[in-house]
């Protein structure tokens, strides 16, 4: 369904030579499958995600191909890309504290895409937003729909973020470090929701994390990245059990002992 | 090309404006005149008399007598009068059937009230000093008023023609400042403070009605804005255009009538005669000779103005030309200064009101003084507030510069105290002779002697008489060309057919 072919991204800089942050990455993703992308910060994971959804900063240039059901997204016009975003690809961001507009009620933020892209009436969009809040397991959704982001906890906000991404029923969900900023106890809940969505709705999911534990929980396949390049890519089980590269091994070793234990247990 | 664009550009917004305006916004009998200073109150018998008089005198308020456009005393609310042999008793016959704007009749009772109010102990009339020779006021019958003086005062009749002595009635006297009630041909419609006073013809006027329906005084301090208002037709008359340098362009323009009239304002650089070195008459003479008055007038007033040698302006009937007394002669000035004991000159503080004409004149005087080795350090003084306090009340100054606008005000040099701190028995005697003169010739002779004493003693440096640069719409008739009294008498102004 999604195929990225030797994607290169370079950033132009003021008064300095351009810098290449993605050095030819390729990947494929089947419908209903989950791909984990793992790597330390600065490895180009987020840039990869942003290139797919076409939200790279202005000074970035992407080369290669990003094929969504055969269409090269890199060649699409801004208007064409707008139809892809939200409807075909939804995205969840890392920082629930900053990823929501602080001056807008969460219900409105969820409904906005529905109103603009689907032309739903205010009332219908609200009903749909309420359903989505239920879907991401926000308790008392009827009351919370009129809350502002600052009135919610981090976990709740991230659920709202998921609801926003789901609103237009995309085929592909990109979750960029969705749990990194959250407490450990909250992390599990978010990951459960993501897992349920993939299972119930048949979504494809790209899950980006620096945390192998997170990847291990959900991903069928895993792509390990380092400094803008692919280190290895294979079934998650294989990557974790028989890391093909020293770098992958250091990532596994860097995991907390307890997490590694769960990993072992899961593998067993 | 540009001209055509300008024309188009001009007409475009005007057409839009006219379309939006109600018709007949401009009535035929309407005149707007410009005045640079807005009066504090509209009653010329209290507070600042000059600006209040310029708006209301003759238009709203009338006196027992009036000063006409030629400076003559003419009957007004008094039809005629007799003066006793000893010149101490004045008997006026008052005009019958005169009423105030509020319907109150004018008679000897109101006249008595008006005069007594001027000289009362708690009077707040700024010109009170001119009338204090009046010892008693009697009203033997409704049409007769008798004034008894404590000593002869030959100018009294003249003073009675002044804005400060207009007739008011008891019921409205206290509110005349904001809601003036007089006997004149116009009554107040509205005073938009900071902007304009609108007056309209009053149908109860005792005399011939004024040709105009509405007159408006517009207060525009900035000379450039005055000129612009004239050019754009927002005002019709500027009887004293503030910008002499713009006068020439109006003179060339057939749309306007212009007139260089004589005014009563004398610009003088007063000195503190009680303070060294200005207590030395030779120093004062030397300073006078250091000044080229023609060059000064050229620079400050674009050449419009007359050099003066004493305190009267050529507008005065008693004027005598004394500019030859101490003419421009820097060599002689330097010599005289050395003779006075200042061979290397001296330094002094020049306290100058922050008004354009004063600042500009001071800068030029400074340059002239420098030529004879005298250094003038100019200190700006906030006018009127600080200036009146420092110079006038406290006489804490060396030299200053100011225009004296009141006609026949040469008597200020005899006053004690007055800011010049000038004291001359000869001058006081001359003023006494003026007061007691029994005929016009003797009076004139005394006035001339007074001027000569001043021209020789130079308690102040006599610089120039301000011209009255009048500009008005060429279609207007009856505007006063000269200014024997600071006034905007609109009672005879009319649009020509």
């Amino acid at each position: 369904m999604l195929a990225v072919e030797s994607l290169r991204v370079t950033f132009r800089r003021d008064r300095a030579p351009p810098v290449e942050v993605l050095r030819g990455v390729s990947l494929t993703l089947e419908r209903g499958a989950t791909l984990g992308i793992v790597g330390e910060s600065g490895s180009g994971k987020s840039v990869l995600a942003l290139s797919v959804i076409g939200l790279l900063p202005r000074n970035a240039r992407a080369e290669g191909r990003v094929l969504l059901d055969g269409t090269d997204l890199l060649t699409l016009s801004e208007r064409g890309m707008r139809d892809v975003r939200g409807r075909r690809i939804g995205m969840i961001f890392q920082e629930p504290m900053t990823a929501l507009n602080p001056a807008m009620r969460v219900g409105v933020q969820i409904a906005e895409g529905l109103r603009v892209r689907r032309g739903l009436s205010r009332g219908n969009a609200r009903t749909e937003a309420l359903r989505l809040l239920d879907r991401v397991q926000i308790p008392q959704a009827g009351r919370r729909i009129d809350s502002y982001p600052h009135e919610m906890s981090g976990g709740e906000r991230q659920r709202v973020g998921i609801a926003i991404a789901l609103a237009l029923e995309p085929d592909l969900l990109i979750a960029d470090e969705p749990t990194t900023a959250l407490d450990v106890t909250v992390q599990a809940g978010i990951l459960d929701i993501l897992g349920d969505l993939v299972a119930d709705l048949g979504l494809s999911l790209i899950l980006i994390s620096h945390d192998l534990g997170v990847i291990a929980r959900l991903a069928d396949r895993t792509l390990v990245m380092h400094r803008g390049a692919e280190i290895e890519q294979d079934a998650t089980e294989r990557v974790l059990r028989r890391p093909g590269h020293d770098y992958t091994r250091t990532l596994i070793d860097a995991m907390p002992r307890r997490a590694r234990a769960t990993l072992e247990a899961g593998r067993a | 090309m540009f001209a055509r664009f300008r024309h188009f550009a001009r007409t475009l917004p005007q057409a839009a404006l006219l379309a939006a305006l109600p018709v007949a916004a401009i009535a035929a009998g309407e005149v707007d005149f410009v005045q640079s200073v807005e009066p504090a109150g509209l009653d010329p018998t209290v507070s600042s008399p000059v600006a209040a008089g310029q708006v209301t005198w003759q238009n709203l308020f009338e006196g027992l007598v009036a000063i006409d456009r030629d400076g003559r005393i003419v009957p007004q609310l008094a039809t005629d009068w007799t003066i006793s042999e000893d010149r101490l008793t004045y008997t006026f016959n008052l005009r019958p059937d005169v009423t105030f704007h509020n319907g109150t009749p004018f008679d000897s009772g109101t006249a008595k009230f008006s005069i007594e109010r001027i000289v009362a102990d708690d009077s707040t009339n700024g010109q009170k000093a001119l009338y204090t020779d009046i010892a008693a006021v009697e009203a033997p019958d409704p049409q007769t008023l008798v004034l008894t003086l404590s000593r002869p005062s030959s100018d009294l009749l003249y003073w009675l023609g002044f804005p400060a002595a207009v007739m008011v009635e008891e019921g409205s006297a206290d509110t005349n400042g904001t809601d003036p009630v007089g006997t004149g041909p116009f009554k107040l419609d509205e005073w938009r403070k900071g902007d304009r006073v609108i007056m309209s013809a009053w149908d109860g006027y005792w005399g011939d009605p004024a040709p105009l329906d509405t007159i408006t005084a517009r207060f525009i301090a900035d000379p450039q804005a005055q000129a612009a208002a004239l050019q754009s037709g927002q005002v019709d008359i500027a009887s004293e255009l503030g910008a002499p340098e713009l006068f020439a362009q109006f003179a060339e323009d057939p749309k306007f009538a212009t007139n260089v009239g004589t005014g009563e304002m004398e610009v003088v650089a007063g000195m503190n005669n009680a303070r060294a070195p200005f207590d030395n008459v030779r120093v004062r003479r030397a300073l006078m000779m250091a000044i080229d008055r023609d060059a000064l007038i050229q620079a400050v007033k674009s050449g419009y103005g007359t050099p003066i040698g004493s305190h009267f302006s050529p507008a005065s009937p008693y004027y005598t030309d004394l500019t030859g007394e101490y003419p421009y002669d820097p060599e002689a000035a330097r010599a005289l200064l050395a003779e006075a004991g200042y061979p290397n000159g001296f330094e002094f503080t020049f306290k100058v009101p922050n008004r354009t004409y004063a600042q500009r004149s001071a800068e030029i005087l400074q340059a002239f003084f420098q030529q004879i080795g005298v250094t003038a350090n100019i200190v700006s003084s906030d006018f009127p507030a600080a200036w009146i306090q420092e110079v006038f009340t406290d006489t804490d100054y060396d030299m200053t510069i100011i225009g004296h606008a009141e006609p026949l005000d040469i008597g200020i040099y005899a006053r004690d105290p007055y800011y010049f701190n000038y004291d001359s028995d000869a001058f006081d005697a001359a003023m006494q002779d003026v007061a007691t003169a029994t005929d016009e010739a003797a009076r004139k002779a005394a006035y001339i002697r007074a001027q000569e004493i001043l021209a020789d003693d130079l308690p102040a440096l006599f610089l120039y008489s301000d011209p009255k640069l009048g500009v008005w719409d060429a279609g207007l008739e009856g505007v006063w060309p000269d200014g024997p009294v600071p006034a905007n008498d609109m009672t005879e102004v009319r649009w020509s057919e």
Binding site: N101, Y148, I164 | A40, K128, T393
Partner: protein, 317 residues
């Protein structure tokens, strides 16, 4: 609730500041040389006449009594009578306000109308021509004195093109159009420096908000750049703009004093200047206090607006 208490505290502090300010104003003006009675009577008056007028104006009463009388009057809404005009000060201020208020309002609206789109466009197109123009405009606009702009407008537009009067104010009774056209040029002169400051703030704020994560979230929903800008970026960028509007009030008033002077408008700035040179003390006191109230009041209003614009400050419940 918490916010209400906060605003209440602000209001109390504001009253305290106004109290100190009123005393400072009063003492400053009293200490200035110049006697209103003497000024009103002119140079021809004798000392006894001056004394009579002083008594009539109540200027012979002791200083503390006059201060308390003034303050008491202010609280009961009686601002006293102008010495020189002889009319109630409140009426005088009211008459001038109908010029200054529309003038400053027009200038502010104009400044916002120019600065907001310009700042947003510049922020959206960094290093493009629009951006360079906006940067140049904001730098130059801050640097040029508004009274000079006024003079240039008179020179070019009034005298040159013949559009709009060179000065003066016909009054609202002359009709809305002539009155407004008398205010157009002064408002432009007053607006340009304001617009320059606001353009700069808007541009910086929009750039800053554009880099926020939630803008990316909005775009990821499939919103157009334009919709994300106006629905998400601009509302959040308004806070610093509104703050700057509040901080600019003292400068706006200062500018009005100068611009009214250039265009000979009978506004409240001219009144202050005129009354001071006449030592119409009671008018000066009230006008200056009035300005202080406006400055502080607007800043309180800005605080309230903040709460309206930023739900985070509203407190829950």
């Amino acid at each position: 609730m918490r916010k209400l208490r906060y605003l209440g505290r602000r209001l109390a502090g504001l009253l305290g500041i106004l109290g100190i300010a009123s005393l400072a104003i009063f003492l400053l003006i009293e200490a200035a040389p110049g006697d209103p009675a003497q000024i009103m009577l002119g140079t021809g008056a004798q000392p006894d006449t001056v004394a009579a007028l002083r008594a009539e104006l109540g200027l012979d009463r002791p200083l503390p009594l006059r201060y308390l009388a003034w303050l008491g009057g202010v609280f009961t809404g009686d601002l006293g009578m102008s010495y020189t005009y002889g009319t109630p000060v409140a009426e005088l201020i009211g008459q001038r306000l109908v010029v200054t208020l529309p003038l400053t309002a027009m200038a502010t609206l104009l400044a916002v109308a120019v600065a907001l789109p310009l700042g947003v466009m510049a922020a959206q197109n960094p290093n493009r021509i629009v951006d360079s123009l906006a940067t140049a405009f904001s730098q130059i606009g801050i640097a040029v004195p508004n009274f000079w702009i006024g003079l240039l407008l008179i020179l070019g537009v009034s005298l040159g093109l013949g559009w709009f009067p060179t000065g003066g104010f016909p009054g609202w009774r002359a009709g809305a159009l002539p009155a407004l056209s008398a205010l157009v040029l002064p408002a432009i002169a007053l607006a340009i420096p304001q617009a320059a400051v606001l353009t700069r703030v808007t541009r910086a704020a929009v750039i800053e908000v554009s880099n926020e994560d939630f803008i990316r979230t909005a775009r990821a929903k499939g919103l157009s750049r334009r919709r994300a800008l106006w629905r998400h970026t601009v509302p959040n960028a308004l806070l610093p703009v509104v703050t700057m509007l509040g901080l600019q009030i003292p400068f706006l008033i200062s500018g009005a004093v100068l611009v009214e002077n250039v265009f000979t408008l009978p506004g409240i700035g001219t009144l202050a200047y005129q009354a001071l040179s006449q030592r119409d003390l009671i008018v000066v006191q009230n006008v200056v206090l009035f300005f202080a109230v406006i400055v502080l009041g607007v800043n309180l209003l800005v605080d309230a607006l903040y709460i309206l614009l930023d739900p985070r400050l509203r407190g829950s419940g």
